[in-house]
C-alpha cells in the first residue's frame, strides 16, 4: 500500500518485506481507529458548548454514561481489541524455524557495520550486507563499543546492538534490490552517517556471492 508521500528509501510505509508490511498495515489500522476516536472525543467536547436547555442534574445517570460507559467500557473495549490485534501481528512476526533461514552476523562499532556470513566462512563485508531475496535471514546483532541499533525500515523493525549481548533479528526482502539501513541509537558525533546498505540478490546472484564471485 504505497500512497504518495509515503515512499522513500527509509520509509516504514513503503515496505519491501513481510515484517515491514505487517507493521505498516498495523499502522494504517491504528491510524484509522485513532482518527475515529479523536473525532468522537472532539464531537463530544463540542457538544458541551452548544445551546441547550438547562442541563440535567441527575449525577448517577451522568456517572453511568460518562465514567461507566465511555470512560471504562468504551476505553477498555478499544484497548482490548487493539492489544489482541497487536499480539496477533506480533505472533505473525515471530521467526519460524526453517531450513531456508540464512544466518549472518552484524557487528556495529562507531561508525561502521561489519557483516559475516555462516555460508561463506572467513569473509566479511563492511557497510554492505548481502542477503538472498525471498528467503528469511537471521541477523545476529552485536556491538563492539556503545549501544547501536540495526534498522532496515523497508524490511523490518529495529533491534539494538548492546555491548556484551547478541540478539537475533529476522529480516526478509521480497524482491532483489538495494535497501537502505541505518543505526537508530544515538552513538556520538558520527551517528548521522552510521548507515549501511542491504543488497538482496536473486538466487543466482546469491550463489555467485557464496562462491566468492563479485563484491
Amino acid at each position: 500500500m504505497a500512497l504518495a508521500g509515503c515512499t522513500g528509501a527509509l520509509s516504514t510505509l513503503d515496505p519491501a518485506g513481510p515484517a515491514a508490511a505487517a507493521i505498516a498495515e498495523l499502522w494504517w489500522v491504528m491510524l484509522g481507529g485513532a482518527v475515529l476516536i479523536f473525532a468522537l472525543v472532539m464531537v463530544l467536547l463540542a457538544g458541551a458548548f452548544r445551546q441547550r436547555p438547562p442541563p440535567e442534574a441527575d449525577e448517577a445517570r451522568l456517572l453511568r454514561v460518562w465514567v461507566g460507559g465511555l470512560g471504562l467500557a468504551f476505553t477498555l473495549t478499544v484497548l482490548l481489541a487493539l492489544f489482541a490485534y497487536g499480539l496477533w501481528v506480533g505472533a505473525q512476526l515471530k521467526p519460524a524455524a526453517s531450513a531456508q533461514v540464512v544466518q549472518v552476523q552484524a557487528e556495529a562499532r562507531r561508525w561502521s557495520w561489519r557483516f559475516r556470513y555462516a555460508d561463506r566462512p572467513g569473509y566479511s563485508s563492511e557497510n554492505l550486507l548481502h542477503i538472498p531475496a525471498g528467503r528469511p535471514v537471521d541477523v545476529a546483532i552485536r556491538s563492539a563499543d556503545v549501544v547501536h541499533s540495526f534498522w532496515v525500515p523497508r524490511l523490518a523493525g529495529k533491534l539494538d546492538a548492546t555491548p556484551g549481548h547478541v540478539k537475533v533479528l529476522r529480516i526478509e526482502a521480497a524482491q532483489p534490490g538495494r535497501y537502505a539501513g541505518q543505526s537508530a541509537e544515538f552513538s556520538g558525533p558520527g551517528y548521522l552517517d552510521h548507515r549501511f546498505t542491504v543488497l538482496a540478490h536473486d538466487a543466482a546472484g546469491w550463489q555467485a556471492f557464496l562462491a566468492g564471485e563479485g563484491p
Binding site: L63, V67, T75, L192
Partner: protein, 821 residues
C-alpha cells in the same frame, strides 16, 4: 482587634526581610512558590530557545549551522532542561504556592526545607546552564545511555555536569515531595476530611509519592555511573561484568513514572479549573481520584516499553505491552469525566477554558499515539525516530504546558490581585495551538518516513526536506505564541486594574483571602465541613478576616498554624514555625560545594562539603529551646499541645516519607545487584567474597545481633536501651568493615563494585543513626527536649530501625549468594 489591624500584625510576623535580602532568607511558601515558578519559566525559556536552535538546524539540508557535537549538546540540554528544570519544578512551585491556600492553612510542613529545596534547584540548574554556556554541556541525549557516557567514550567533564547537576536538582524534588506528603496529610484546615480535600491536593499527594518512589532509581544510576567514571567501578562495562541494560532499566524505572509525575499535576489543574469554568462540581470526584491513584500504580509497571527494541524475552514484552495499553484506561476515565462535567454544567469560553480546549485537542492525540507505541511491533519501527519525539511532545506539551497555561491565567488574579487589560492571551492561545500541531504532526509523518531522532542534519535526497521546513515554521509560530504569553503577563504586571476577589466564583478556599494573597494566607483558619467551602458559606472570607476562625489572635510574634489528624481533620496540635533564616541557602551552598568536589574530582572539597553539611544539619535540627508541656488556646474554647510534643511529631512524618525514598533506593540497589547477577555478560566474577566460614559466621552473627540490638535497644529503657542500641549499630558497622577487608578490589568486576556500594549505603545509614542518637543524648542532657522527648525518641528510633534493617539485609545479600556458587 479590627480586621485591618489583624492583617498588619500578621503581615509583620510572616513577612520576609525587606529589600534585596528577602528572597535569600525567606522560608514562606508563597514567596518560595513564586520563586520556583519564575525560575522554572526562565528555564522553560532557555529550553525553548534550544528547541528553536534545533528546529533551525533541521529546517532544511543547508540550514545546519553547528557541528554534530554542539547539536548533541543542544538536544541533550533541551530534553534535560525541560524535564528536570522546567516541568517538575513548575509543578513544585505551583503546589508549594497553592496547597496551603487550598487546604486552608498558613504554610507547608517544613518551611526551611522548602527553601533548601529551592536553592538546591537553583544551584544545580545553575551548574547545568554554566556547562551549556561554557560549551561543556552533556551530549549523550537526555537518557544518557552508557557506555557512550562512560569513561571510555566520554571522558570529558560534560557527562559529569549532567550526573552531578541533575542529582543536585533531584534533592530539591525529594524535599518538595516530602513536604507535600506531610502537608497534605497533616496541615489542613480543621475539619477537612481526606475525602473533602480539593482534588488538586489528591493529585499533588499522588505525584509526591511517585517522586519519592520514582526518583531514587535514577539517583542510584547516576551514583553508579559517576563511581564508574571517577573510580573505575565497572557497573556498565560489559568486559568486567557490567551491563548497559542496567542503566536502561534504572533510568526508565524513573523515566516512565516521570512522565506521569509531569502529567498528574497538570491533570489536577484541569480537574480544578474545568469545573469552575463549567460552573458545576467535578463529575465523579471519587472516580477521578481513583484514576489518579491507579495511574500511579500502573506507571511503575511500564518502564520496559522504552526498551522494546533491546531484544527482551517474548513473555516480558507481552506483559509490559499489556500494562502499557492498560494505562490508557484511567486516563480515559479522567478525560470522559472532564467532558461529562462540561455537559453537566454551562461552560463558558473564558481564557483558561480556551487553554483547556487546547489541552484536549493535543493530549488526546498524544494518548492515542501512546497506545500505538505500546504495541510492540509498531514500536520496533518507530522507536528512536521523530515519531516518538512527536508523540512525547503531544503528551508533555499537550498534557502539561496547556494545563499549566490554563492554570496560570486562572490563578493570576490570586498572584497579583489584578485582572488582565489587554487580550493578548487569546491570540497567543491560537498561535500556540496552531504552531504546536504544525510542528509535531509533521514530525510524526517524517518519523514514519524513517527520520531518526537526534540527527544533526537531513540529507537533501531523503524526501524529508519540505516536511522539516513546515515543522520548523510551525515551531517558530509556537515560539511567538509563547512569547506573547510572557508579554501578556508582563503587561499585566505593569497595568494596574484591580480584580474582584474570587473573580471566577470558585468554590476553593484559596479564594477566601484578599488578593494578592498575603504571606500568612488566612487571618484565622476556617473550620471546613464541605468539599466546596466557599459555595457552602459565601461569607467565609469575611468571617476569617474578622478573626472568627482558629488562631485569630497573633501572639508573641510567632508563625502559627494547626496540625490535624490525617483522616478526619480533627485539630491535633499547635504548630509554631521557624522564622526567616539564611540557614537553608547556606546549607544548599555547602551541599553544592560537595557536589562540585565530585565534579572536579577534588576529594578534599567533597570531604569539606560533607562535613559542612553534617555540621549545619546538626545545627538545623538542634532544638532552640525546650517545649513546654501545657496546652495552648487556639481559638474558641479549644486548647492544644505543641506539635513537637506529640508521639508522632511532624519530623516523624517527614522522616517516614524520606525513608520511603531511601527504601526505594535500597530496593533499586538490590534489583541492580540481582540483575547484573542474572543478565550481565561475563559473570561469574573471577573472585567471590572469601567464603571462609568463620568470617561468614562472625559477619552474619555480628550483623544480626547488631540489628536486633539496635532495633530493640531504643525501645526498652531510656538510658540503658540507648547503650544497647549504640552497641548494636557499632557491631553492624564492624561486620561491614570486616566484609570490606575481604572483598575483592572494587574495580576488578561489577560484583565487587556492587559490594562496595552496598557497604557504603549501610555504613552511611549506620553513621546517620549513630549521629541522631548522639544528638538525642546531648539534647536530653542539656535539657533542650522538654515535652518533645517522646517525639524525638520516635524519630531516632525510626532511623535506627531503618539502618539496622538495611545493615542486616545487606549483609545477608552480600554473604549468602556466593555460597551457592
Amino acid at each position: 482587634m479590627t480586621a485591618l489591624r489583624r492583617h498588619r500584625r500578621l503581615a509583620a510576623i510572616w513577612a520576609s526581610e525587606p529589600g534585596w535580602r528577602g528572597p535569600f532568607s525567606t522560608v514562606n511558601h508563597s514567596d518560595l512558590g513564586r520563586m520556583f515558578l519564575v525560575t522554572a519559566f526562565c528555564f522553560f525559556a532557555i529550553g525553548g530557545l534550544l528547541a528553536m536552535l534545533i528546529r533551525a538546524q533541521l529546517a532544511s539540508p543547508q540550514a545546519a549551522f553547528v557541528d554534530a557535537d554542539t547539536f548533541s549538546q543542544f538536544f541533550t540540554m533541551h530534553g534535560t532542561i525541560m524535564m528536570f528544570l522546567f516541568a517538575i519544578p513548575a509543578f513544585e512551585g505551583l503546589a508549594i504556592y497553592l496547597l496551603p491556600k487550598m487546604l486552608g492553612t498558613r504554610d507547608l510542613a517544613f518551611p526551611r526545607l522548602t527553601a533548601y529545596g529551592y536553592w538546591c534547584y537553583v544551584f544545580g540548574g545553575g551548574m547545568l546552564i554554566f556547562a551549556l554556556l561554557a560549551g561543556l554541556a552533556p551530549q549523550g541525549g537526555w537518557f544518557m545511555y552508557p557506555p557512550l557516557t562512560g569513561p571510555a567514550f566520554a571522558p570529558e567533564i560534560n557527562t559529569d555536569f549532567w550526573l552531578i547537576g541533575v542529582t543536585f536538582v533531584e534533592i530539591s524534588a525529594l524535599a518538595a515531595a516530602v513536604e507535600i506528603c506531610v502537608s497534605v496529610l497533616k496541615y489542613r484546615a480543621p475539619g477537612m476530611r481526606l475525602t473533602q480535600m480539593p482534588v488538586f491536593a489528591w493529585y499533588a499527594l499522588v505525584t509526591a509519592l511517585m517522586i519519592l518512589t520514582g526518583f531514587p532509581p535514577l539517583i542510584l544510576a547516576s551514583v553508579l555511573l559517576e563511581l564508574e567514571r571517577a573510580l573505575g567501578l565497572p557497573f556498565f562495562t560489559p568486559g568486567a561484568g557490567g551491563d548497559s541494560l542496567l542503566w536502561q532499566h534504572l533510568f526508565w524505572m524513573f523515566g516512565h513514572p516521570e512522565v506521569y509525575i509531569i502529567f498528574l499535576p497538570a491533570a489536577g489543574v484541569v480537574s480544578t479549573v474545568l469545573p469552575v469554568m463549567a460552573r458545576t462540581p467535578l463529575l465523579g470526584y471519587g472516580w477521578v481520584v481513583g484514576a489518579a491513584v491507579a495511574l500511579a500504580f500502573l506507571s511503575f509497571g511500564l518502564w520496559v516499553h522504552h526498551m522494546f527494541t533491546t531484544g527482551l524475552p517474548e513473555l516480558g514484552l507481552a506483559l509490559f505491552s499489556a500494562a502499557s495499553t492498560l494505562v490508557a484506561l484511567p486516563t480515559g476515565v479522567q478525560v470522559f469525566a472532564w467532558i461529562g462535567t462540561l455537559w453537566k454544567g454551562r461552560p463558558g469560553l473564558q481564557l483558561p477554558m480556551l487553554y483547556l480546549l487546547g489541552f484536549f485537542g493535543t493530549f488526546v492525540i498524544g494518548g492515542l499515539t501512546g497506545v500505538m507505541v505500546a504495541i510492540v511491533p509498531f514500536d520496533w519501527q518507530v522507536h528512536d525516530t521523530a515519531f516518538v519525539t512527536a508523540h512525547l511532545h503531544y503528551v508533555l506539551f499537550g498534557g502539561f504546558v496547556f494545563p499549566l497555561l490554563a492554570g496560570l491565567y486562572y490563578w493570576l488574579p490570586l498572584f497579583t490581585g489584578r485582572r488582565r487589560f489587554f487580550r493578548v492571551g487569546e491570540l497567543a492561545c491560537a498561535l500556540i495551538f496552531i504552531g504546536f500541531h504544525v510542528t509535531f504532526l509533521a514530525m510524526h509523518w517524517v518519523g514514519l518516513l524513517g527520520q531518526r531522532r537526534r540527527i544533526p542534519s537531513i540529507d537533501a535526497d531523503s524526501g524529508w526536506t519540505l516536511i522539516n521546513l513546515i515543522s520548523s515554521v510551525g515551531g517558530f509560530v509556537l515560539a511567538i505564541g509563547l512569547a506573547m504569553v510572557l508579554v501578556d503577563v508582563l503587561l499585566h504586571a505593569l497595568i494596574n486594574t484591580r480584580a474582584r476577589r474570587n473573580p471566577w466564583e470558585s468554590d476553593g478556599l484559596e479564594w477566601a483571602m484578599v488578593t494578592p494573597a498575603p504571606p500568612y494566607n488566612f487571618a484565622s483558619l476556617p473550620q471546613v465541613g464541605s468539599r466546596h467551602p466557599l459555595h457552602a458559606n459565601p461569607a467565609l472570607p469575611l468571617q476569617l478576616a474578622r478573626g472568627e476562625g482558629y488562631l485569630g489572635e497573633p501572639r508573641e510574634g510567632r508563625r502559627e498554624t494547626l496540625l490535624v489528624q490525617a483522616g478526619d481533620g480533627r485539630p491535633e496540635a499547635l504548630v509554631v514555625y521557624p522564622g526567616n533564616s539564611r540557614l537553608p541557602i547556606t546549607l544548599a551552598a555547602v551541599t553544592g560545594a560537595a557536589f562540585v568536589g565530585v565534579l572536579l574530582k577534588q576529594w578534599w572539597l567533597l570531604a569539606l562539603g560533607l562535613s559542612g553539611v553534617v555540621a549545619l544539619a546538626w545545627h538545623w535540627a538542634w532544638p532552640a529551646r525546650a517545649v513546654a508541656q501545657d496546652a495552648q488556646p487556639v481559638g474558641g474554647d479549644t486548647a492544644l499541645p505543641r506539635s513537637e510534643s506529640l508521639a508522632r511529631p511532624p519530623g516523624w512524618w517527614g522522616s517516614a516519607f524520606l525513608l520511603v525514598a531511601d527504601a526505594t533506593f535500597f530496593a533499586a540497589l538490590l534489583f541492580g545487584y540481582a540483575f547484573l547477577w542474572t543478565v550481565a555478560p561475563n559473570w561469574p566474577p573471577p573472585q567471590w567474597l572469601a567464603p571462609s566460614l568463620p568470617a561468614l559466621g562472625l559477619g552474619l552473627g555480628l550483623g544480626l545481633a547488631g540489628a536486633a540490638g539496635a532495633a530493640a535497644g531504643l525501645r526498652w529503657a531510656w538510658r540503658g536501651g540507648r547503650l544497647l542500641s549504640a552497641a548494636g549499630l557499632l557491631a553492624l558497622a564492624l561486620a561491614w568493615l570486616l566484609l570490606l577487608r575481604q572483598a575483592p578490589a572494587g574495580s576488578s568486576h561489577a560484583y565487587a563494585g556492587a559490594l562496595l556500594v552496598l557497604a557504603g549505603f549501610a555504613l552511611l545509614h549506620l553513621g546517620l543513626a549513630a549521629l541522631m542518637q548522639l544528638r538525642l543524648a546531648l539534647a536530653q542532657r542539656r535539657g533542650r527536649l522538654g515535652a518533645a522527648r517522646a517525639g524525638a525518641l520516635a524519630i531516632a528510633t525510626l532511623w535506627t530501625d531503618f539502618a539496622a534493617g538495611v545493615g542486616a539485609l545487606g549483609l545477608a545479600v552480600a554473604y549468602l549468594p556466593p555460597l551457592w556458587q
